[in-house]
Each structure stands twice: as C-alpha cells, then as structure tokens.
C-alpha cells in the first residue's frame, strides 16, 4: 500500500516579503493620514482623531503579529497567518465562510438600521452600530469556525 519512507520533497509556505509588508503598512498609514486630513478639513476633529487612532492601531497590530511570528517562526493562529499572507487553504476557507456570514448579517443589520432611522434614530449612530455588529459577527464566526473546521 505504502512505502516506509515518505517523500521528502516539499513545498515552501508562501509568506509576504518584508518589502511587501513594509509597503502595505506605509500605504495603510498614508490612507489613514488622508482620512484624518479629510475629516480635519471638513471640521470634524473628533472623527479625524478617531480615524487616526483606529487606523494606527490596526497597523500596529499587524506589525506586532508579524514580529511575534518572526520570533517564533510561525504565526499562532489562522488570523495571524492571514494577516501575514501565509494563510493555507483551511485558513482561507474559514475566512471565506466568515465573510459570507458577515455579508448575510449585513443584509439583516441594514434592514434593522433602515427601520431604526425611519423611526427617528440618528443615522450616523446607526451606521456606527452596524459596523460594530458586523465586526462582532466576523470575530465570533472566525472563532467558531476555527474550532469546528
């Protein structure tokens, strides 16, 4: 049925190079800066500050995950591997399924949001709440599928 010695020719895992990672971070920071500038010029300093802090936080998390993965030789979880561009097919399947759930949740959340606005709720608050709900759904489904799949 099988031979005793497995074949040792292997594929190398695909990872994002330092150059690509640095360029991605730089592009993200430029985008965050432009967002901050746009909100500042529009007279929305609080929103500008929020966008700046939130964006910088995401980039910082990416840098920390990559640094930890470098130190340990591999990323701990599927999220880290996906962030580093080293996701394997199971990680991609989990991410795809999670995003599908987020898409479904977005339909429902938007319907509820529309109804809320029609009943007099503040539009920007509703949009923010929908964002938060979708983020929670994404994290919850990612965690659930990571355990089940």
């Amino acid at each position: 049925m099988t031979t005793s010695e497995p074949q040792r020719t292997t594929r190398q895992p695909r990872t994002v190079s330092d150059r690509r990672f640095f360029l991605s971070c730089a592009a993200a920071l430029v985008a965050v800066g432009l967002l901050w500038l746009t909100f500042t010029l529009a007279g929305e300093p609080d929103t500008a500050a929020g966008a700046l802090v939130g964006g910088a936080l995401v980039v910082a998390v990416a840098v920390v995950v990559r640094w930890r993965a470098r130190r340990r030789g591999t990323a701990d979880g599927g999220f880290g591997r996906t962030l580093l561009g080293a996701a394997d097919e199971r990680d991609k399947a989990i991410l795809t399924a999670s995003l599908a759930w987020v898409g479904l949740a977005a339909f429902l959340a938007n319907a509820v949001g529309l109804a809320a606005v029609a009943l007099g709720a503040d539009g920007s608050t509703v949009i923010g709440a929908i964002e938060a709900v979708l983020l929670v759904v994404l994290v919850a489904v990612l965690l659930t599928l990571s355990r089940r799949l």
């Binding site: 049925m1 099988t2 031979t3 005793s4 010695e5 497995p6 074949q7 040792r8 292997t10 594929r11 190398q12 895992p13 695909r14 591999t74 979880g77 599927g78 591997r81 394997d88 097919e89 199971r90 990680d91 399947a93 990571s146 089940r148 799949l149």
Partner: protein, 64 residues
C-alpha cells in the same frame, strides 16, 4: 470523510508540525484533517498522497 493520515504519519514517525511543514500547511490544518473535520482540496489531497508515496484512494475514504 475518513482518512488514514494519522496512521500514516505515526508510522512515519512524524509529528503533526513536521507533516504540516512538509505539506506547507499549518499544524491546525493537519489536526483538522486527521480528525475528519476538514476535507482537503484536491491539490492538497494529491500532495498528501504524493508525500506518503501512495494514492488518494488509499488515504481518503467516503463515509457512506
């Protein structure tokens, strides 16, 4: 889908991490494959079969 990956791996004296590295997937993926929670893509199934110098049919079995 049932499979023989755990048996083949143990017969070869490999850890899940070593097999994962050889197949360019994560250790969690090997664990999920062994426990039948995740069905691999055709390319990965071929890689597993090639690695153990056998055929897909010898490794993966239909549950039915």
């Amino acid at each position: 889908m049932r499979n023989e990956i755990r048996r083949l791996r143990e017969e070869a004296g490999l850890s899940q991490a070593a097999l994962a590295e050889a197949l360019a997937v994560s250790r969690q993926t090997v664990n999920s494959l062994e426990n039948g929670r995740y069905d691999p893509s055709l390319p990965l199934a071929f890689s597993v079969a090639r690695y153990f110098r056998t055929t897909i049919e010898e490794i993966f079995h239909d549950d039915v």
